[in-house]
């Protein structure tokens, strides 16, 4: 009845082997997924389960040297919506729309997204607390308000071109906000709701509070009061002279700490979208490079004194109004020349031929070395974003003419911060300090992450030389071209400067940057202030009349803050304020506008008519005029045929 097949046994064996093999394969695979990939998959699963309602942590503050808050945050919650928790999304949208002043249809579309969590942005991003209260009162299911902040600037546009601003998600986009974005940004906290796929909270998994960390605080060396004084003065100057730009820096010459840093025009950081990027992207004190003009003479003076090639009190110089260098006629700003003068008077008068003489006495290569030692031609290392390095003549190209023009600050290109660094060294006893603006970075938990200390680069000139420079510069303010910066008892020293702007390798007609660099007190400087006004109009005047009084005013106002006490010993001012200063009017007829301006004539000049050539003047040449008086010049297009 039964039949037996040997074949069937063999074949059954084959099947058993096949089953064994696949069993092993499955077990191996399960071991791989379940044990080897366990941790990886658990992480993925947790991310799949949790629903985070973000609690944005505060971005770090930016504070001044006294811990006064310059930039902080304001609570401005952001709305989130979990569609699956809502019974009636249309109703929710209808309720929310008027409060958020949003389009209902658009909002509804957003709220109907197939997502577990919808950020109601931009409608519900950074809403006010009143809005939040109104929404909470409605008790709309599925609507959550997550803690969020916007940047708050208690001082508005103050320091804005240095500070920069933040974007939509509080990310730094310019200035300090951009440069220190990583440090200022915290880790967001969140409530982690573990929910099932229907977004119903899980009963047996506890909610987690994901700890966040606020951003670190950036402390600046800036002193808010000094900054405010400076910006007030520059704003006034901008208006009075209808200037294109204005630059201001205040620094502690003994440390390199920057106390104020201004660029004008400023802008409102909350409204950066309507501002030209050349404004918020350019921090002028470090970005702009231009001919320093006469302020650069301080460097030539320091070099000459250090080299011992001049005695300011005893050595005399004769200025005929020009000097010849290799066949080139280099003119003094005063056409008729300063005639016989001591070298101290050369400094007081800012006499170009006198400085050419000083430069020649130092020697071309030595002068170039001093210029480099004073930090020109390279970045200062201030760590301020966007710093330029300026342009110097190379050693090869530094011929006698270049040597001569450099001696009085022409033909080279420097940044304001480089001038500050160099002049600070010239007057502080000879030490070149790296300017810096960030003093400390303090983490959320109070730990000091970064602490910047004054950094001396090198000794450029001796203490004695520096004292002589200070004396000469105090004399400039008391007796010379910087008179407008004089303040009784403050012992201000300084130097004026006027530079023509260069565009595409050529001097730009009628476009000047007038500047003044001043410090006080002259015996032991506590503050050094630089102000430059770019293209002042209305009054075509020179640095001494526009920039010097601003610096004088700033120093006067901030003297108590930086600890300057009024001194009795001070170089006597040549005239008392009540005496009218009578000025002999020179002959301007036949000169071009540029020529007139370059002379830095200490009078208010009023221009009449159109043209480039002076045809008439009033009062006539040779007559005397009060310094406060106005000289009227009449312009014509063509030169007289005589």
């Amino acid at each position: 009845m039964k039949w037996i097949s040997l074949l069937s046994k063999k074949r059954l064996k084959l099947i058993i082997y096949a089953f064994f093999l696949y069993g092993l394969a499955i077990i191996a695979r399960l071991v791989y997924v379940q044990i080897i990939q366990h941790e990886h998959l658990t992480e993925l699963a947790k991310a799949n389960w949790d629903r985070e309602i973000p609690f944005v942590t505060e971005r770090g503050n930016i504070v001044d040297r006294e811990n006064e808050i310059i930039v902080t945050n304001k609570l401005a919650p952001t709305l989130y919506f979990i569609p699956k928790q809502s019974d009636d999304i249309a109703l929710a949208a209808r309720q929310l729309a008027p409060i958020l002043k949003a389009d209902e249809a658009e909002l509804l579309k957003k709220m109907q997204k197939h997502a577990y969590l919808v950020k109601l942005a931009p409608e519900g991003k950074n809403i006010t607390e009143e809005q939040v209260e109104a929404i909470q009162a409605l008790r709309i299911k599925g609507v959550y308000s997550g803690v969020d902040y916007i940047r708050h600037y208690p001082y508005g546009s103050l320091l804005s071109r240095f500070l920069g601003f933040t974007g939509y998600d509080n990310q730094g986009l310019a200035g300090v906000e951009y440069e220190y974005n990583k440090i200022l940004t915290g880790n967001n906290a969140a409530i982690r709701l573990f929910t099932d796929a229907k977004n119903i909270e899980m009963a047996h998994v506890d909610d987690e509070w994901k700890e966040g960390e606020a951003g670190a605080t950036v402390q600046l060396t800036i002193d808010l009061t000094i900054q405010q004084v400076m910006e007030r003065e520059l704003a006034q100057a901008m208006q009075r002279y209808d200037a294109d730009q204005a630059i201001g820096i205040a620094m502690n010459p003994n440390t390199g700490e920057i106390l104020a840093l201004s660029s004008f025009p400023t802008y409102d950081p909350t409204n950066f979208k309507n501002v030209d990027s050349t404004i918020y992207n350019r921090n002028l004190p470090v970005f702009m490079t231009y001919e320093p003009g006469s302020t650069f003479k301080i460097i030539t003076l320091s070099a000459a004194l250090e080299e011992g090639v001049v005695n300011l009190e005893h050595d005399h110089f004769y200025d005929p109004g020009f000097t010849m260098v290799e066949g080139a006629r280099l003119r003094c700003w005063k056409r008729e020349g300063h005639k016989d003068e001591t070298f101290l008077e050369v400094v007081e008068n800012s006499c170009n031929p006198g400085f050419i003489e000083l430069g020649q006495r130092v020697g071309s290569q030595k002068l170039l070395r001093y210029i480099k030692d004073f930090g020109f031609g390279q970045k200062t290392g201030s760590n301020i974003a966007g710093e330029a390095s300026g342009i110097l003549f190379s050693e090869k190209a530094f011929g006698p003419v270049e040597h001569a023009t450099t001696s009085f600050g022409q033909g080279i290109s420097v940044t304001p911060i480089q001038q500050m660094q160099a002049v600070a060294a010239a007057i502080n006893g000879g030490t070149l300090y790296t300017p810096y603006v960030v003093s400390r970075i303090v983490a959320d938990d109070g730990e000091v992450v970064v602490e910047n200390k004054p950094e001396a680069k090198r000794q450029v000139i001796s203490e004695q030389t520096s004292a002589q420079v200070r004396h000469a510069l105090e004399s400039v303010v008391a007796k010379g071209s910087g008179k407008q910066a004089f303040r009784e008892g403050l012992r201000i020293g300084g130097k004026t400067g006027t530079a023509q702007k260069v565009e595409n390798g050529r001097y730009k007609d009628g476009d000047y940057i007038v500047s003044f660099i001043g410090f006080a007190p002259a015996d032991k400087p506590e503050i050094i202030v630089y102000v430059a006004i770019d293209n002042p109009k209305n009054h075509l005047q020179f640095g001494g009349l526009i920039a010097a009084p601003i610096v004088g005013q700033i120093i006067e106002d901030v003297a108590p803050i930086v600890g300057i006490e009024k001194s009795q010993e001070q170089i006597e001012k040549v005239t008392v304020w009540t005496d009218p200063i009578m000025v002999e009017v020179a002959d301007f007829v036949g000169q071009t506008v540029d020529e007139v301006v370059q002379q830095h004539y200490p009078l208010t000049i009023e221009w009449h008519g159109e043209g480039t050539i002076v045809s008439e003047q009033m009062p006539a040449a040779g007559s005397k005029l009060m310094q406060q008086g106005t000289l009227h010049l009449y312009l014509t297009e063509k030169k007289h045929e005589d």
Binding site: S5, I15, A25, L30, H38, T42
Partner: protein
């Protein structure tokens, strides 16, 4: 009868029986655990699926008893085979005309509105019994299976192909594969000559091409995105997490999150709506998540024991009918488990096949229980013969 029962219980295969019962009960617990949330979401009582499966098990127990006490030798009976064939024909006709769709396959029929029934499950057992029965009889007639010629098996092969075609029309690819493999395995270990087997394979190849072509023509949506996706996701399921990869990724996450020890019974999170219908083909993922390696081990060892026991009986029995039925049942359970586990662990595309004894499903457990009854009946006779010899 009394003697039959006495002999019966003396030779009863307790280990097989206990394994089967344990797997069913373990499955029931896991169905309860994994379906609770599904039930709540569907606004049913949390134990809705559990209660239903309990009823299914009670009915299945009756089927088991029938299978266990009805002497297996009668499955070669012409009349019984004919009745079974009629039932098959009715069911297939029914499902193709008035079938109910679920999960992309139209493979259910509503039995008098009382319960849903899956004809393809019946087809699996039917193919085993019908092939075993008819091959056995052919072998008897020719004195040896060796003498059975291809011509002699045209009839069962044709019916088998018809069934495959019909189930294929339901687009239940998993069932097609199982029914196909079962029949081919039985034919193989029936001991039929290699030459015949080769001819069969040739015919199968031709018919297979025709059937597949025909199915393609009739159902142009057979390669729909969801089916193609099942193949594509194998490479990197995480890329397709929002589409076809969703199930497999969430299965991975469940298995992976379970790890060595598991989250604990009832503690699965993936079952909370992340894994759709975790009580059916992805129940092993929930077992892994809740009970870790321990839970997975119980199921795999239990299933392996049943399969190997069946194959061992098939290999060592002297009765060709017992061999073919026992072997067929073992291949069925083994191959179905393989499809399920390899799909969920990502070594084979998902076929939607349930895990034998464990997954939720009335028809499946009913026919598996009947099959287990038959296997235990065969085992009893097998032991009895052994005792007699010794």
């Amino acid at each position: 009868m009394k003697k039959y029962l006495k002999t019966y219980f003396r030779n009863f295969d307790y280990p097989l029986f206990i394994t089967y019962v344990l797997l069913c009960l373990f499955g029931l617990i896991m169905i309860y655990s994994s379906s609770m949330m599904v039930a709540i979401i569907e606004e049913k009582p949390p134990d809705a699926y559990y209660t239903k499966q309990l009823t299914n098990l009670k009915i299945a127990a009756l089927a088991f008893l029938v299978g266990a006490f009805f002497p297996y030798k009668h499955y070669s009976n012409k009349i019984i085979l004919f009745i079974m064939m009629c039932v098959m024909a009715i069911l297939l006709a029914w499902v193709n005309v008035k079938g109910i769709s679920a999960g992309g396959s139209k493979s259910w029929i509503s039995l008098f509105g009382v319960m849903n029934f899956q004809p393809s499950e019946y087809a699996k057992l039917f193919v085993i019994l019908y092939f075993a029965g008819s091959l056995y009889k052919k072998g008897l007639r020719e004195n040896s299976i060796q003498n059975v010629q291809p011509n002699d098996i045209i009839y069962p092969i044709s019916i088998w192909l018809l069934i495959l075609f019909s189930v294929g029309m339901e687009t239940d690819l998993g069932a097609v594969m199982i029914i196909g493999v079962i029949a081919m395995s039985i034919l193989m270990f029936s001991g039929i000559k290699g030459k015949t087997l080769g001819k069969f394979a040739a015919v199968l190849g031709v018919f297979g091409t025709i059937i597949i072509g025909a199915v393609f023509l009739i159902k142009d949506d057979i390669i729909n995105e969801s089916r193609m996706g099942r193949f594509l996701v194998l490479k990197n399921p995480f890329e397709y997490i929002d589409g076809s990869g969703y199930q497999i990724v969430n299965g991975y996450l469940a298995i992976g999150a379970g790890g060595l020890e598991g989250r604990g019974l009832g503690q699965s999170i993936q079952k909370l709506g992340y894994l759709p219908h975790p009580e059916t083909d992805f129940i092993m993922a929930i077992i892994a998540e809740e009970l870790g390696v321990f839970g997975v081990g119980i199921v795999i060892i239990g299933l392996a024991f049943i399969v190997l026991r069946g194959l061992y009986i098939a290999m060592t029995t002297k009765d060709p009918l017992a061999r073919m039925i026992a072997g067929g049942i073992a291949v069925w359970i083994g191959f179905q488990a393989f499809l399920n586990l390899s799909g969920l662990s990502g070594i084979f595309p998902l076929t939607g096949v349930t895990l034998p004894f464990i997954s939720y499903g009335g028809t499946s457990i009913l026919l598996l229980s009947l099959a287990m009854g038959i296997l235990i009946n065969i085992s009893m006779y097998y032991k009895f013969d052994k005792h007699k010899q010794s």
